[in-house]
């Protein structure tokens, strides 16, 4: 049986609130299909969000869902997962929410390797507030708060996650939507902390100000600038100039936090603490 995102929507919350051509819906669609692929029931999945366009994802999908404060979704999720380790915890965040205000929480959630699947929807901009530059906005881009172009460099959130200890890390784009679905599927199955970055388009808040007039132009930009990590292995630095990598970057095994804590409880109950 083919699955359609429509099958998982809270139909009374549709149509959704995102702008025409927004990539958030494409990313969410891939997440929903991935959850379906893994075979989790609606009742055992909880989807937690923060603030911003990415935070509006979970209100429209028929799982257990709650939205939290700006950047803090991973901390709420950590408390939730520790008390309900049997549930499948998914966090959907954004570049402002996850890499900006919530950056410290992201670092430490990666470090703990707690079994939370995080999808960071990177649309290069604060969309909900109307197009201010984020920590992941490419240098030189225009934004309402960067009328002369940003002078700040952006950074690679996947490398940060890897450095902080995430045990599954990957990146895809809204254009590469099947790859995105595959990566999220693997991330959901992975035991430990996983981060999948979804590069998406914000035609209204970012594209219009940065010489990409239509959603289609932005998807073409994704197609032309993304290089699969496997293909990149055989390419020269010159060939990779101005490109970004997609695909699976990290997939390794390490002790998972809630499992370790359960062991700690068993030890404390049998032996007592020192």
């Amino acid at each position: 049986m083919a699955v359609h995102v429509q099958d998982y929507l809270r139909m009374h919350k549709m149509p959704h609130i995102w702008c025409p051509g927004c990539g958030t819906g494409i990313a969410l669609g891939a997440v929903v299909r991935a959850i379906h692929n893994v075979g989790y029931s609606r009742d055992e999945v909880i989807v937690i969000t923060g603030i911003g366009c990415s935070a509006r994802t979970n209100a429209i999908i028929d799982f257990n869902t709650f939205q939290t404060t700006h950047g803090r979704a991973l901390s709420f999720a950590t408390g939730f997962k520790l008390t309900r380790p049997e549930m499948k915890v998914v966090v959907i965040t954004g570049d402002g929410d996850g890499a900006g205000i919530g950056g410290n929480h992201l670092i430490h959630t990666c470090r703990r390797n707690i079994d939370i699947t995080t999808i960071l929807i990177n649309n290069s901009i604060y969309g909900m507030t109307g197009g201010q530059y984020s920590p992941l906005t490419p240098r030189g881009s225009y934004a309402t708060t960067a009328p002369y172009g940003t002078v700040e460099p952006s950074f690679d959130i996947c490398k940060l996650a890897e450095g902080a200890g995430a045990t599954y890390v990957g990146r895809a784009t809204a254009y590469h939507v099947t790859l995105l679905e595959q990566l999220v599927t693997k991330a959901l199955k992975h035991e430990g902390f996983s981060l999948v970055e979804a590069i998406t388009q914000c035609p209204i808040g970012y594209g219009r100000r940065n010489k990409m007039k239509s959603p289609t132009e932005m998807l073409k930009w994704q197609r032309e600038h993304a290089v699969n990590v496997k293909a990149a292995a055989g390419m020269s630095p010159e060939q990779l100039e101005g490109k970004f990598l997609i695909g699976e970057f990290v997939n390794k095994t390490a002790p998972e936090y809630t499992k370790l804590y359960q062991k700690l409880i068993e030890d404390a109950q049998s032996k007592g603490a020192k």
Binding site: R10, K13, R42, D43, E44, I46, I48, N58, A59, D62, F63, N64, T65, F66, Q67, T68, T69, R72, S75, F76, A77, T78, G79, F80, K81, L82, T83, R84, E86, M87, N104, H105, I107, H108, Y261, L264, I265, D267, A268, Q269, G272, A273
Partner: protein, 379 residues
């Protein structure tokens, strides 16, 4: 189990009471003078199958406690001034989304990092008004180790009963002093559990209140799939950010759920007030000095009584009002530049009694002698 006679530190009593009240999750961040609560719960919670986690900061600690409570477990965190400031963001979330949790603020001298090891009562207004928006809050304030224990249990119970955050405002004196306490038999302690759903999932609205204005709180993962948001929300739990009627109704209800149980929530002790001509209104560690001052003054033939507030918010105005025409003056000693005294003045604005603030904010307790002198100034 029987009544237990123990020598306990205040923060230790708080931690023990949390476990007794059914708290099974603590997330925190090290800070003086509250850290003992974290240290003890790191040791004790795993023994009862609970979870302790030290988070990366105070903001995350508050978030994790709320996340755990949403998961269906009673959660508590403990902090002091600077950390309490950082907790405000998610404390407001808990108030809005109606998630039970308890925040202990062991007050120390401020402003800012101030005097980390010295006591103060400078966060009384922050506890009430520290977050943005206009939500109500319950703030309990112990003056003895025994009260710290009992009010911690009350705090957990109120939070579960009313689906809201409750603050315990202790201080470095009550947090660190050791006293002999006689704890009640655990089987005699009333423990409140959150309300369960009374309708099947297809009829369930997560924020449809019962007659007491409190909606049941149903754990996720048991067939009741629903949404929660800190945006203005309807009874279905969905954002209704531009709906004026929904906003009006929600905010009134958040306040009403406290007002409807005001008699139970507002706790005070009236000591030697029957024939009092001068009242001392005190709370926290200052109530200890005030009690001693009453004894001294009475020994000198002065008719002085003490109104000790165990609940600071909602403010016990009805108790203060009651004496407004009976006493000449109400002295309000506080370890700040005058915070709760404003509420006392408000309660007495049409009454005969005058209000006399007595303030100290140098990290030293107000002494009984200072209070006795203030009493003599009235006479």
């Amino acid at each position: 189990m029987k009544r237990q006679v123990k020598l306990l530190q205040g923060n230790e009593a708080c931690a023990m009471a949390a476990v007794a009240a059914g708290v099974r999750f603590f997330a925190g961040y090290p800070i003086t003078p509250a850290t003992e609560i974290a240290e003890i719960l790191a040791q004790e919670l795993p023994k009862v199958g609970g979870t302790f986690i030290q988070m990366e900061d105070e903001i995350a600690s508050m978030a994790a406690v709320i996340g755990a409570s949403i998961g269906g477990v009673k959660g508590l965190t403990a902090t002091s001034g600077p950390g309490f400031t950082l907790k405000q963001e998610n404390l407001g979330y808990a108030a809005m989304v109606q998630v039970p949790c308890v925040i202990v603020n062991v007050q120390r001298g401020g402003p800012s990092t101030g005097m980390p090891t010295l006591p103060a009562q400078m966060d009384v207004m922050q506890a009430r008004w520290g977050t943005h928006g206009d939500h109500p809050i319950i703030v309990l304030c112990p003056s003895t180790v025994y009260e710290y224990y009992m009010l911690t249990i009350k705090a957990v119970n109120f939070s579960e009963m009313l689906r809201m955050p409750v603050i315990i405002l202790s201080d470095a004196v009550v947090g660190h002093l050791r006293e002999k306490v006689v704890l009640p038999d655990i089987s005699e302690i009333e423990i409140v559990e959150r309300k369960k759903a009374t309708v099947p999932p297809e009829e369930f609205l997560p924020f449809k209140p019962d007659a007491d204005d409190v909606p049941p709180f149903v754990s996720y993962g048991k067939g009741y799939r629903y949404h929660m948001t800190s945006n203005n929300y309807d009874e279905g739990g969905y954002p209704a950010t531009n709906n004026h009627q929904v906003a009006d109704k929600l905010l009134r209800r958040l306040h009403n759920k406290i007002e409807k149980r005001r008699g139970e929530i507002v706790m005070t002790e009236e000591i030697m007030m029957d024939d009092a001509e001068v009242a001392i209104f005190a709370y926290g560690c200052t109530a200890r000095s005030a009690y001693s001052a009453v004894e001294t003054a009475r020994a000198q033939g002065l008719k002085v009584g003490l109104i000790k507030a165990l609940t600071l918010w909602p403010f016990p105005r009805e108790v203060v009002e009651k004496y407004g025409d009976k006493v000449q003056a109400v002295i309000v000693p506080e370890m700040n530049m005058g915070q709760l005294v404003g509420e006392v003045e408000r309660a007495l604005k049409d009454k005969k009694a005058g209000v006399r603030p007595l303030n100290r904010f140098d990290g030293k307790m107000i002494t009984p002698e200072q209070i006795v002198s203030a009493v003599k100034e009235v006479k």
